[in-house]
Amino acid sequence: MRQMLNGDEAAAIAAKLARVNVVSAYPITPQTIVVERLSEFVANGELGAEFMKVESEHSALSACIGASAVGARAFTATSSQGLMLMSEMLFVASGLRLPIVMVNANRSLSAPLSIWCDWGDSMAVRDCGWVQLQCENNQEVLDSTLQAFLVAESLLLPVMVCFDGYILSHTAEPVDVPGQAEVDRFLPPYRPKYKLDPEKPATMGAMGVPEYYEEFKFMQQAAMQAAKEELVKADNEFAKHFGRKYGLIEKYHSDDADVLLLTMGSLSSSVKEIIDRYRRRGEKVGLVKVRAFRPLPVDELIEALGHAKAVAILEKDVSFGSAGALFLDTAASFINVDKAPLMIDFICGMGGRDVDSLHIKEALRAAAKAAKAGEVKKIVRWLGLREKLVGLEE
């Protein structure tokens, strides 16, 4: 059934369709609609879950950890400062190998306070051992959230489904909402391999002494690497049931292009629009969209970008003192590869700054220039920056 849904509503409906047992969440803009809708589903009896109205995001995830440990399917949602407050427990959830699913409506981090979108929040916790998916539109939010449970529970890894705050969280789009029966066929109930049960006592979260800690971390990394295959499997299975498929990355007119843009999330839609215009003029430019940021699809990136002369990366985040995280990871993917494209990192859209067609064209022009010249003069650049305000003269 097609419905007009914003991203938050799509996430909430996905959690309901997944028949989550426990929802534990705390309100934060722009994620709040997720918890509002879920509390309505519970209040109306549409969802038979325990809804925990906890006193902080730290407790939201802590309670999910407790619930997941006893074998419940647990779900939470957050944004920005909430994700930061959770950050300690993000590492604990993944270290305990609990298959919790969370949606994060991407929002910039304080200070200065900003409720608008960038990827600073989820990028700041990219090393926390959660699978991270970045969605382009609200259909993808719903579909990825459903896939997330399948992947999480098969590998005992938590999954974070990210989507751009406001741009998706508060914008209604037509979304195909699958029927419950079909979702039930796609996603069976959670059957935990390990759980806390007095019938069979187990200790979870024992102290990792130096003789064992490294092995725990190795196994976590191995599970994350295996998640690539599991994501593809879940995506294929999803396609069989619902006819939609996303991949780890998406290639858009990229195979024959010398000049490529690389980005994630809702910005991909804007870029596709521009690519279409260039293509109509016969210019061979293309886009590669990263959907799975963790685990990083290294082989897929090499395959999709390797033939290009230059790649401009558009990203809404910066690792202070270094560069954008998407750029860093993409560049690192090409280590020891014979032929790598030139790369330029464009930091843009920070704190909700609009990234418009002029910015995207500017990035494309810069990449084309680099391709022609065979060199990149300035690697990290800021798009749409009000240069006079920061003391940079024209």
Binding site: N21, M52, E55, A63, G66, V70, A206
Partner: protein, 291 residues
């Protein structure tokens, strides 16, 4: 006094606790009272560290450690998870030390109690951060030496009274709040049984000496804990649905100096300082109707 105390210990021997540890005794007695149909969510601290160096565990009941400040939040998730799966007959039990309860864990505890989860919270109170090497917590008593309240020329030990945690929990309207001591195991275990039988959030704070932290001999744990009660420095009581019941009124209260002088952490106290502590103890006893 106790029936077959060592027949079945759900906290197994072989753990790494210090000789004479009052807290591990509090753990063993707790599970002896509660039985095996529990799921324990434990905060970071001495008891977590000494019982679970992987691949060993002392816990013969299901047990989870997530972090320091969130034992109550994890326990509330355990309870909600069990409820959502339709499982009954299993009690969710949170256990934390005084630092994990009075300081860093207070928000999570307050939230879990206010939400009305059916769980029991046990605070083992050894009156400082012992796991990190004896630093003061909100539950450290007035005058005590710790490594962060050293005895110097200007400052002489802890300069604030002990935080009144049970009163804070009782103010939430929790149906059952009690204090206990490892020196009174029957009283402690009865309170735990009572708390566990109540549907809703319940709280038991057990006073448990730490031999290295309190600077006492390994064979003095019970004696010191008992003197805390007999001097009125630690009062045994319960608050059931708002009604206070002092469960032990020492018939002839001993001077607090008897308790203080057994412990190295109070060795520096002058006579004048002991008089001040006696005054504080007298005031506390008056509030509880103890002469």
């Amino acid at each position: 006094m106790m029936e077959k105390p060592f027949e079945e210990t759900l906290v197994a021997p072989g753990h790494r606790a210090c000789a004479g540890c009052g807290c591990i005794l509090a753990m063993r007695l707790a599970l002896q009272a509660l039985g095996k149909n529990v799921i324990v969510s434990m905060a970071t601290g001495c008891m977590e560290v000494v019982t679970t160096p992987y691949p060993e565990t002392a816990w013969r009941v299901p047990w989870i450690h997530a972090a320091f400040e969130n034992a109550a939040a994890v326990a509330s998730g355990v309870e909600a998870g069990l409820k959502s799966l339709g499982k009954s007959g299993v009690k969710s039990v949170a256990i934390a030390g005084d630092g994990g309860t009075a300081d860093i864990g207070l928000q999570a505890l307050s939230g879990a109690i206010e939400r009305g989860h059916d769980f029991l919270y046990i605070c083992y109170d050894n009156e400082a951060y012992m796991n990190t090497g004896v630093q003061r917590s909100g539950a450290t008593p007035f005058g005590a030496w710790t490594t962060t309240t050293p005895i110097g020329k200007v400052k002489r030990g802890e300069d604030r009274p002990k935080k009144d945690l049970p009163a804070i929990i009782a103010a939430h309207g929790a149906p059952y709040v009690a204090t206990a001591s490892v020196a009174y195991p029957v009283d402690y275990m009865n309170k735990l049984k009572k708390a566990a039988a109540i549907h809703g959030p319940t709280y038991v704070q057990v006073h448990a000496p730490c031999t290295p932290g309190w600077r006492i001999d390994n064979n003095k744990t019970i004696e010191v804990a008992r003197l805390a009660v007999l001097t009125g420095a630690w009062v045994l009581y319960e608050v059931e649905n708002g009604k206070l019941n002092v469960t032990l009124k020492p018939p002839k209260r001993r001077p607090v100096a008897d308790y203080l002088k057994m412990q190295g952490r109070f060795r520096h106290l002058t006579d004048a300082e002991i008089v001040e502590i006696q005054r504080m103890v007298d005031e506390q006893c008056k509030r509880f109707g103890i002469e």
